[in-house]
């Protein structure tokens, strides 16, 4: 090859590189649009979820049309990849102004410096469900439009046929009653009477099963100090609960196989399903008026369900936090909160939005979820250590499910959590 053709290759490569360069690059907040408005980049975890994106697009369109100072630009990510994208962006100092996050991770991201105190007017944060607020060290860092709740789904006819008492919020099943009901249903021909979604993974495990542990008197961590899980996760109450949990699998009351979702219940293959409100509509279609939304059983200290879902925060590197707050204030209108709730089948975070909701209003089919949330919801521990608590709890829970020794498994989980807290100097506690 002569010098001429080499020069041609090099120049073509340079042009190609420039062309590729021009294809990318967009401001990550702090940039200005052609009409002089400050652009605020906003990341959501909603890619692949057209129902949720539809509401976001409506809010953003309305906000952008409402004033001439700011312009919100939305980028959506698939949920399964979202946290990794945030961590990578934080490493590259490239976080957007506005970002949503799952409630339990808020303290960790606040501690890590990803997000700043929210600074929304108190009248807004006071109007929200307590579980729709994310705090760290008594400071509010996030707020959400909605929360979710778990219930035990059942068919009235099945319970009546088997002489099983129908529990209420005021009079839930005791654990002995619950065990008896599972035995009865198994004897009645249900090979696996209860679906608890054990085939799922990730945050589902602490979200679904740590409330049972708390109902039994244990917990994920000592909430008074947030410095150790000793005694909370491996004390006698925790051991008793996890022994029950292990036996539930051994006896065949529950199973770790099956499909994620509520198909087995909808098809009548299981009699009871411990699941979230987001699965309720297909079950309503399948069971109609026969469907019951029941409170979870009382393991000794009263029923408990998990609280906190996706919420909004402002990154610490946002160059226009006042613009981000203006957007969030605008977005917390009841009409948008209601739209979210009815599109996503989740509980609205404000009273006004709940009253207006088709599903969660006073006459709504899914109203029991609002009552369950108000009565039983408990936040997962608001500590930066929750990230490691969550994964450790899942691992220990799965080991126990598969037959591991309960006490030594829980002791190992406590040691892992405590070591992590110590190596991070107590995460600010």
């Amino acid at each position: 090859m002569n010098r001429g053709s080499l020069a041609k290759i090099l120049s073509m490569s340079a042009v190609g590189a420039l062309a590729l360069t021009a294809c990318g690059q967009a401001g990550q907040g702090g940039t200005t649009s052609e009409d002089g408005r400050v652009q605020l980049t906003m990341w959501t975890h909603s890619a692949g979820n057209p129902a949720e994106l539809e509401v976001y697009e409506q809010i953003i369109d309305d906000f952008n049309a409402s004033q001439d100072e700011y312009e919100v630009i939305e980028e959506s990510f698939p949920q399964g990849a979202y946290n990794d994208a945030i961590v990578a962006a934080a490493a590259a100092d490239d976080l957007p102004c506005l970002l949503d996050m799952d409630g339990p991770i808020v303290p960790n991201w606040a501690w890590a410096g990803y997000i700043q105190p929210l600074g929304l007017p108190q009248e807004i944060t006071d109007s929200l469900l307590p579980t729709a607020i994310g705090t760290y060290q008594d400071e509010i860092y996030s707020a959400g439009y909605w929360d979710a709740a778990l219930a035990v789904l059942a068919r009235k006819s099945v319970l009546e046929e088997n002489d099983i008492r129908i529990p209420t919020i005021d009079d839930p099943w005791t654990i002995d009653e619950f065990d008896g009901a599972l035995d009865t249903l198994q004897d009645a021909g249900y090979k696996t009477p209860l679906d608890i979604g054990a085939e799922d993974s990730g945050e589902w495990w602490p979200y679904a099963y740590s409330p049972m542990l708390q109902s039994a008197g244990g917990d994920l961590i000592d909430r008074d100090t947030m410095l150790s899980a000793e005694g909370a996760l491996n004390g006698p109450e925790a051991v008793e609960f996890f022994t029950w949990f292990q036996e539930a699998f051994e006896k065949g009351w529950v199973s770790s196989s099956g499909t994620i979702g509520n198909e087995e219940f909808d098809k009548g293959e299981v009699a009871l399903s411990y699941t979230g409100g987001w699965n309720a509509l297909p079950s309503l279609e399948a069971a109609g008026d026969d469907l019951l939304f029941l409170p979870p059983p009382d393991f000794g200290k009263g029923p408990t369900i998990g609280g906190a879902s996706w919420q909004w925060g402002i990154s610490s590197t946002c160059e226009s936090p006042e613009g981000a707050r203006a957007y969030l204030e605008f977005s917390f209108q009841d009409k948008y909160v209601t739209a979210f709730a009815d599109n996503q089948i989740v509980i609205p975070a404000t009273e006004g939005a709940t009253e207006a909701s088709e599903y969660f209003g006073p006459e709504g089919d899914l109203r029991p979820f609002v009552e369950l949330s108000q009565e039983y919801a408990l936040l997962r521990p608001e500590t930066p250590a929750y990230a490691v608590i969550s994964s450790t709890f899942e691992k220990a829970g799965k080991d126990i499910m598969n037959g591991a020794d309960v006490q030594s498994t829980l002791d190992g989980a406590v040691a892992e959590i405590d070591a992590n807290i110590q190596s991070n100097d107590g995460y600010g506690f």
Partner: protein
């Protein structure tokens, strides 16, 4: 005796030939049976994927565990494919993946073969040390350096077009080139080229140099034409990882219009997974890979045989 001997020998040979023929035939039949069984095993996942992409979720789950899972029976439709196009900009993702993959493979062939040429044909101080260092990088998993790499690419200088004006800026995030450039140089490809080029007689270089050829001419006119199998092997071995990129684009690309197909997979895993759409999407993104493989199957097999790489 002689008569007997003369007549019996051909007779016994014929009989032995027949036995051998029958045995050979049986061996052939059995080998075909074994290969067919293997083909079925390898084809099952693909057949399941394509067939399931035509079924509603409930039927997919209902059919699992029975032969119906592999048969296009029941409520068959293209609804899942329509659902995929509603949920994911699959056309854009495919274009992005094709662009990133073609450029990564193409530029990789040029750069890595040149590096291999320099390491195998040219004599310079520190050559073996450099080769050792290149090979040493093979033991470093990408995951361990991903976050530092994100940090570095976010600091790299670049040119951006703003209002029709080309401006100097920093940061490669959100671009095509951030998905391509870090993967052009590939230690395994360099090693493979180095090894293959070493098998080509050095006398060819010397003859070319006597005729006045420079290093680049020797590389371009002598080595490249003789290294077809190595180029084909490297192309195939770098095509699949480039097409399957997931972690890196997830970390460095935030804009949807620049994402590759693999990141799109996550769009379907919501609270309740749409399995039919997952199967339809995987069918769509597997198709280009299958087409490439089937088109270059002969070259692939011969290059594997020639280069001794079994992937």
């Amino acid at each position: 005796m002689a008569t007997v001997s003369l007549t019996s020998r051909p007779a016994s040979r014929t009989s032995a030939d027949r036995v051998e023929h029958v045995l050979r035939h049986r061996r052939k039949v059995w080998s075909y049976v074994a290969m067919s069984a293997l083909a079925v095993v390898f084809l099952f996942p693909l057949v399941f994927m394509f067939v399931s992409s035509l079924k509603p979720d409930a039927q997919i789950l209902g059919d699992v565990g029975s032969p119906r899972a592999f048969l296009p029976v029941g409520d068959i439709s293209l609804d899942n494919y329509f659902g995929v196009f509603d949920r994911v900009p699959v056309g854009q993702f495919l274009v992005n993946s094709v662009l990133v993959t073609v450029l990564t493979v193409g530029l990789g062939l040029v750069v890595n073969s040149m590096a291999g040429f320099a390491l195998s044909r040219m004599r310079w101080k520190g050559r073996s040390v450099v080769l050792a260092l290149v090979i040493a990088t093979l033991i470093v998993p990408f995951e361990t350096i991903a976050v530092p790499m994100v940090y570095w690419v976010a600091q790299l200088p670049t040119l951006v077009m703003e209002g029709g004006v080309l401006k100097y800026d920093f940061g490669w995030l959100n671009s095509y080139h951030v998905q391509i450039v870090p993967f052009i140089a590939n230690a395994f490809s360099i090693f493979l080229f180095t090894q293959y080029f070493s098998t080509i007689p050095k006398s060819l270089d010397e003859a070319a140099r006597i005729d006045g050829a420079g290093w680049f001419t020797i590389y371009r006119r002598i080595i490249v034409p003789l290294a077809g199998p190595a180029f084909a092997t490297v192309a195939i071995l770098t095509f699949l990882p480039a097409w399957n990129q997931y972690l890196w684009p997830l970390m460095v690309v935030q804009q949807e219009e620049l994402r590759p197909v693999m990141v799109g997979m996550q769009y379907f895993f919501q609270l309740n997974t749409a399995w039919g759409e997952v199967m339809a999407y995987t069918s769509l993104i597997t198709l280009p890979v299958l087409i490439v493989f089937l088109s270059f199957q002969r070259a692939f097999v011969s290059s594997v045989a020639a280069s001794g790489v079994k992937g």
